[in-house]
């Protein structure tokens, strides 16, 4: 995003709207720090500028991934859905993506609100890849890797800054313990935050398989959850 300085009256109204504080006032000039800006479009969409001075410049690769990963209204080619993730557990009753005996993990890099450079995403991806995970193919982040086996990203993307980038994969339930410890360790090496998710299909007796493991490991989990209530059709045939 850019500010057309011919139009801007430096009223400062747009400054607070930026989720990553990339709009700055210096002396009498309000400008956008392009290195910090994640191209989320929030400032312009807020219609707060009295002079319509916020202008979307044409984005070229690799900067285009900022908009793809930060602007909620940009639709990802891979998943064909808006938002930065995939259908994940939201449609599990029809896709069967998370089966009995498996758990899904999502590492939501940069969330909430801190944003992330892609080199930090790579650091976490490479750490978890050591456990031979297969990153979710429909997630646009996976297509940004030069080697999905190692979690290495394309060189030209590493310094790009995005509001979020989600690493998604499925592991056998018996690997949960090792994987969560590994994620806790790599968390100490990054310059941003991530939100961590774990999901599994409810067992026939109504219990939540991953919950037992978390309790045994003594890992905190939220009192609130996201629950797929099984209304999608046709139901996935299998376990």
């Amino acid at each position: 995003m850019q500010i057309n300085q011919e139009l801007c009256v430096a009223c400062g109204m747009c400054i607070s709207r930026c989720p990553v504080a990339a709009i700055k006032k210096e002396d009498t000039l309000v400008h956008i720090d392009l290195d910090e800006c994640v191209e989320c479009g929030v400032c312009k969409r807020s219609r707060v500028c009295p002079k319509s001075a916020l202008e979307q410049q044409e984005l070229t690769y690799p900067r285009t991934i900022r908009s793809l990963m930060s602007d909620v209204l940009t639709v990802a080619v891979e998943s064909q859905i808006s938002g930065r993730g995939t259908e994940e557990m939201k449609t599990n009753e029809v896709t069967g993506r998370f089966k009995d005996g498996w758990v899904g993990i999502a590492i939501e890099m940069g969330r909430p609100g801190v944003a992330t450079r892609m080199y930090d995403v790579e650091k976490v991806a490479m750490a978890v890849a050591k456990e031979n995970v297969e990153f979710e193919k429909q997630n646009p982040v996976t297509s940004m890797m030069s080697n999905p086996q190692t979690g290495m990203f394309k060189e030209e993307l590493l310094n790009e800054r995005v509001l979020s980038a989600i690493l998604e994969f499925v592991i056998p339930i018996e690997k949960t313990d090792v994987m969560l410890r590994l994620i806790q360790d790599v968390a100490k090496e990054i310059h941003t935050v991530f939100s961590l998710d774990i999901c599994s299909k409810v067992a026939a007796d109504g219990s939540i398989p991953h919950k037992k493991i978390l309790e045994k490991m003594g890992i905190w989990f939220s009192p609130n959850t996201k629950i797929n209530v099984g209304l999608g059709r046709p139901l996935f045939q299998g376990n």
Binding site: S16, R17, P19, A21, V42, R45, V72, L73, S79, I81, G83, R84, E87, E88, M89, K90, T91, N92, E93, V94, T95, G104, A106, E108, R111, P112, G113, V114, I166, L180, A187, H191, T192, V193, F194, S195, L196, D197, I198, S200, K201, V202, G206, I208, H210, K211, F221, S222, P223, N224, T225, K226, I227, N228, V229, G230, L231, G232, R233, P234
Partner: protein, 207 residues
């Protein structure tokens, strides 16, 4: 993801915050899903939702009105609604079960309560996702009471500085907590920013 499982707050405050999403699955049941997604939104409206939205087309501020949100729903949309009490949540779940739209429905909120509501509505949880919290350089995060408001937009479109600005205005008496909540809703394109809970959180902040 709308990040609805990562809504931060005390159990007491989360008792007034329920999010329901409806979406088709690509290549399985997405064709012709738009009218069903519209129906979902209408059912939510009939059951007194606080907000509604469409993650693909944008919220009512962006699209101009709730009617426009409903009208412009496309086959691949993810549509949403928030509720502030369990009675309405059970009502909407019951009706969704009866109407059997055939699309996936996901409910976020306090686990035990959602499970109880599922039971009352005759539904069974199929897959459950927990938040394991925030890891990494967490010193970069705002205080919990601000995070409780900010995380109601999972895509972080509601800037922390904007929240502080609105809270300050309420503190000075230039706007009400409800007006501040409406302003803060505007950047949340999916429409899952629960304005009712936001107003309550803001009131607690300025008390």
């Amino acid at each position: 993801m709308t990040h609805t499982l990562h809504r931060v707050g005390t159990v007491e405050s989360l008792r007034g915050d329920w999010v329901v999403l409806c979406m088709p699955s690509k290549d399985i049941n997405h064709e012709g899903s738009a009218p069903k997604l519209q129906r979902f939104l209408k059912i939510c409206r009939a059951n007194h939702c606080v907000t509604l939205g469409d993650c693909r087309g944008g919220n009512e501020f962006y699209q101009g009105s709730q009617e426009a949100v409903l009208e412009n729903v496309e086959d691949r949309a993810v549509v949403t609604a928030t509720f502030n009490n369990e009675k309405d949540l059970v009502g909407v779940m019951k009706q969704l079960k009866e109407e059997d739209l055939g699309l996936s429905v996901i409910v976020s909120g306090l686990t035990d309560h959602v499970e109880k509501c599922c039971h009352e509505a005759g539904l069974k949880p199929h897959t459950v996702e927990h938040s394991l919290g925030r890891l990494g350089d967490t010193a970069k995060l705002p205080p919990q009471e601000i995070l409780a408001i900010a995380t109601m937009c999972g895509h972080s479109m509601v800037a922390v500085n904007f929240i502080y600005e609105m809270v300050e205005k309420v503190r000075k008496g230039s706007i009400s907590a409800e007006q501040a909540a409406q302003e803060l809703f505007k950047p949340c394109m999916c429409g899952i920013f629960n304005t009712d809970r936001a107003a309550k959180l803001i009131k607690a902040l300025v008390a």
